[in-house]
Subunit: 204 residues, 2 copies
């Protein structure tokens, strides 16, 4: 019986995707499920809903709540938290690098390191020197910065974003199980993993 | 040491408040915390955010997700689910009855019964005969329907709604611990209860 794979869709600028991305591997391993990080861009999806920035900026009470809640969630997980300035960060460069290296062994480490840099250290992920430093730390050659600017990386990121929209994704993190169930939010990660495990067992 | 009380703020038309209201008493009792149901009206708070209906109606993908997710959540809890038509229901009458009977022994049973009628049986809670039937079932005299129309009930519901707004509440269900921490959403109920228990123990 093969291990079920849950797609973990996220935008690198998404706040709750940070704790979810960090804890996902251990949660998944514990239950016997595999995680596949799928970066995309929330910007075009938000724009289609009439938003030109994060809803956490548009709706003040919701934003105030989110920052306090994220602080509590990170404390509970014992992971560092620093509120990034500005928010949201432009996640295009970080996403293109991830897409370019999607088949590389450093890909998953890179994804988590981008989240840690932004929400744990307060660094700007639209800064090419920050991304270069992260690539170095995860053992990837600096030449991946050039690959990130390739037509292929740009095209695949657009395709991934369009696929996310077609899957009904409207926020991040979002999880899709092998049978196509969508779960939204850090709070629903464990339910998504259990769902994937349960349906895999039922059809085995 | 006294039992900490968590305020459970909700609008009777709120979808995720249904499973939260039903499971809250058992979850609270298990951990040694008490729940106080605090109905208010989301309408004025949504209106201040520029919405004239539920965000689940305004944002199509989010709405489609919510109905499927709510169905899964109810199945997991083994409670009935029927999507109400129309959505959202006008919750004014149901809320005024609850406010009028806020000190009565049937108040909590009434709150849960309104949710069950709406999301479990698909009944309309803006129908006075439905509310009359619920009052009868929970052992409350029909005269409470008149009390619901009193100036006092109207005034207190307005005050409660304004207090919810001042507490930073922007959606439902929302939970407020004795030390003033806000937790939003059915998914955060258990965290709110644990928080209330933990801080009560720490200051005992």
């Amino acid at each position: 019986m093969s291990i079920p794979v849950v797609d973990f869709w996220f935008d690198f600028g998404s706040t709750y995707s940070y704790p979810a991305a960090i804890r996902a591997p251990a949660c998944a391993a514990k239950i016997g499920v595999s995680i596949r990080y799928r970066p995309f861009l929330l910007g075009p999806i938000f724009k289609a809903q009439g938003w030109d920035t994060s809803p956490f900026n548009i709706y003040e009470a919701k934003g105030r709540y989110m920052w306090r809640d994220l602080e509590r969630v990170c404390a509970e997980l014992s992971i560092p938290f620093r509120r990034p300035e500005p928010f949201p960060q432009d996640s295009l460069l970080a996403a293109r690098v991830a897409i370019a290296g999607r088949n590389e062994s450093w890909h998953d480490d890179y994804c988590r390191a981008v989240f840690r840099a932004q929400f744990g250290e307060g660094l700007r992920i639209d800064d090419i020197t920050v991304i270069a430093g992260i690539l170095h730390r995860v053992g990837a050659p600096a030449s991946w910065l050039e690959q990130a600017g390739s037509d292929d990386a740009k095209r695949v990121l657009r395709t991934e974003t369009e696929q996310a929209r077609q899957l009904g994704i409207f926020g991040a993190p979002s999880f899709i199980t092998p049978d196509g169930e969508l779960f939204w939010g850090n709070d629903r990660l464990d339910t998504a993993l259990a769902w994937a495990k349960g349906t895999a067992a039922a059809t085995a």
